[in-house]
Symmetry: C2
Subunit: 373 residues, 2 copies
């Protein structure tokens, strides 16, 4: 980072941003005027699944203060070799899918971040728990609520933490909207709209395989609108309705959803109208309507800078690499029992899965599905 | 208009706008470099219903070239007096609701524009038709499809035209988006989103009276999303689903809808997700998503300037008073049999009513309702 950008970022932070951030959220990886080296306990993480998102997390973790990438688990020995070099990971902290239960005996690893196809999460997280390590699991936590509950039970039995990779729960602009909502700045919330989608490519990828993905667009991208509706509205839905359409039955086979419109009702009377799709370009849009104001974000959940505005003007909180903040904050959650503004625990993951189960049922039966609040 | 604005408007028109407008749409009431006085036949119109929207139309008609306000029909004698003075209407062209059938004998009136509560449209339009005058009817055309069909039949039997007040069908930015869609500039259309609503005030107004309004928000404002979905997507829906919520049962009595989320499916596989509400602020938003691009408009249907952009940039067609252009174009439709880009005839009004009937049924039963394409 050159000095001008450095200066601008500091200026933004000190002059504008920090006063707006909730106390719990002070990002740990941002440049500070007089940075003091972090002296506390560091969460030593192994990543399980070295694909493109695993690599993104590994890269982001290079600037973490409280979390450190120290291990890797993969079925591909060449990938493990590559990561050893690239991320300076000792060979003794590398495992295969066959032998990673031995991580139990490795005192240099505290947690395993499972970043594999959705259909593998349940069994892998349960193995991590049984090895006595904290489990961090990419979202969706599993492919249905039953599996999610099994994971929660296993982690509880093993006395380890289970966290789900909800990076948006640490994103400053998102948190500012949540703060405004909690402060009543939007008044009574009336409506949420979430549009989540993109055009998926290669028909042979695991995301289009029912066993591995547990579905199609909904599991992968629609979940952002579900989770977003919950943290933007600040309530749990009590009903869902859904309409599924399929224009490409070759790419989207039985059980792999292409496009689902879904609606949710909340106890206050607020409603949400959402779209999940694998066949439309560039949909990453949230809109929150309240009696006194609004918020809109676009992109609302992408990796790059989130952009948004409210009735009070543009959201100008700084962009920080989501996964860097997430991992530092997760270290604080695990070691300091820090309570994040929006939960990232197993129960949070399970709520989304229950809603997804209900959406699939509503889409199939054409009927409204009631949910427990 | 001062000369600077005059200049800017001319500049905008000659340099930017006219090449983008479809041939059929050259607005008749815009300043021209060398305006030639209009020599042709003028549509002489009486307005039936002198309320706030009637007044808006009357004001807008003052700058029409091909249409002229010449008569008024009202149940309130003082209003008729007022209009005679304000709009220079001869007393002989003024009627009451009791005696306006006598308009049959008035050779100075060609058409009657019915701008009364929805529940009165059917009978009034049929009386206009029986008096041998062309009928222009504000939207919704009636309070259900059955009534709409009766109006079409009556006008056909009387050999008069029946037009519905779809002012957006003549709006330049709207027409530019339609032109782009027809030219394939958005590629295959995938998704339309329409948000239409506002917070309604006085609970005693006719818009919240089932008999007079035929419903609530859907008839009044939701119809914009229905009609907009049709002209933006360019297809007729083949199914609808709908979810109704009511948070204020005092203001919104039985049969008067407060908030309805509704979805539509089109033969191509495109889907629409819409919101109609009387209990949220400032919702007037269209979004069209295609394989190659998008359009978004906000406000999308308000009386003031429509604002919007596409993947190619901002829509910069000029704002022209909607009702002025509408009435000039309707004169051309009636006298020259001009075909507007998007129809404004009775069949067009009937299509919206059939969809509204289906939405109400879907909201009531919770079931998908199939429509004939």
């Amino acid at each position: 980072m050159n000095s001008r950008r450095d200066f601008l970022q500091k200026l933004t932070l000190s002059a504008i941003t920090l006063p707006l951030l909730p106390g719990s959220l002070k990002p740990l990886n941002l440049p500070e005027e007089n940075p003091e080296p972090y002296q506390g306990k560091v969460l030593r993480v192994a990543i399980l699944g070295l694909g493109s998102y695993g690599t993104r997390v590994a890269d982001a973790m290079q600037t973490c203060k409280r979390a450190k990438l120290v291990g890797a688990i993969s079925g591909t020995p060449t990938k493990l070799k590559e990561w050893q070099t690239k991320y300076n990971i000792p060979a003794k902290n590398c495992y295969s899918y066959d032998n990673f239960d031995q991580i139990k005996n490795n005192k240099d690893i505290d947690a395993v971040y499972v970043i594999t196809p959705n259909g593998l999460h349940r069994d892998q997280v349960i193995r991590v728990a049984k090895a006595g390590k904290h489990a961090i699991c990419e979202k969706p936590m599993a492919i249905n609520a039953q599996q999610g509950q099994q994971m929660i039970d296993a982690c509880q039995a093993a006395n380890v933490r289970l966290l789900v990779g909800y990076r948006m729960h640490f994103e400053p602009k998102t948190l500012e909207v949540i703060r405004m909502r909690q402060a009543g700045e939007f008044g009574k919330i009336k409506f949420f709209q979430g549009l989540s989608g993109f055009t998926i490519g290669d028909p042979k990828q695991w995301r289009l395989n029912k066993e591995l993905a547990g579905g199609g667009a909904m599991m992968d991208i629609g979940i952002y609108s579900i989770n977003g509706a919950r943290y933007m509205v600040g309530e749990e839905p009590v009903w869902v309705t859904a309409q599924e359409t399929k224009t490409d039955p070759v790419k989207f086979k039985e059980g792999v959803d292409e496009t689902i419109l879904f609606q949710m009702g909340f106890p206050s009377g607020a409603v949400a109208s959402c779209l999940s799709t694998y066949s439309m370009n560039g949909l990453d849009k949230f809109y929150l309507n309240g009696e006194k104001g609004f918020a809109e974000m676009q992109p609302s959940t992408g990796y790059g800078p989130i952009k948004g505005q409210t009735h009070k003007g543009e959201l100008n909180q700084p962009h920080i690499t989501h996964q860097t903040v997430q991992m530092d904050e997760m270290a604080a959650i695990i070691f300091d029992n820090k309570k994040p503004e929006v939960p990232v625990d197993g129960q949070e993951g399970l709520r989304d899965l229950k809603i997804i189960d209900a959406i699939f049922l509503a889409a199939k039966t054409g009927k409204k599905v009631e949910l427990k609040a």
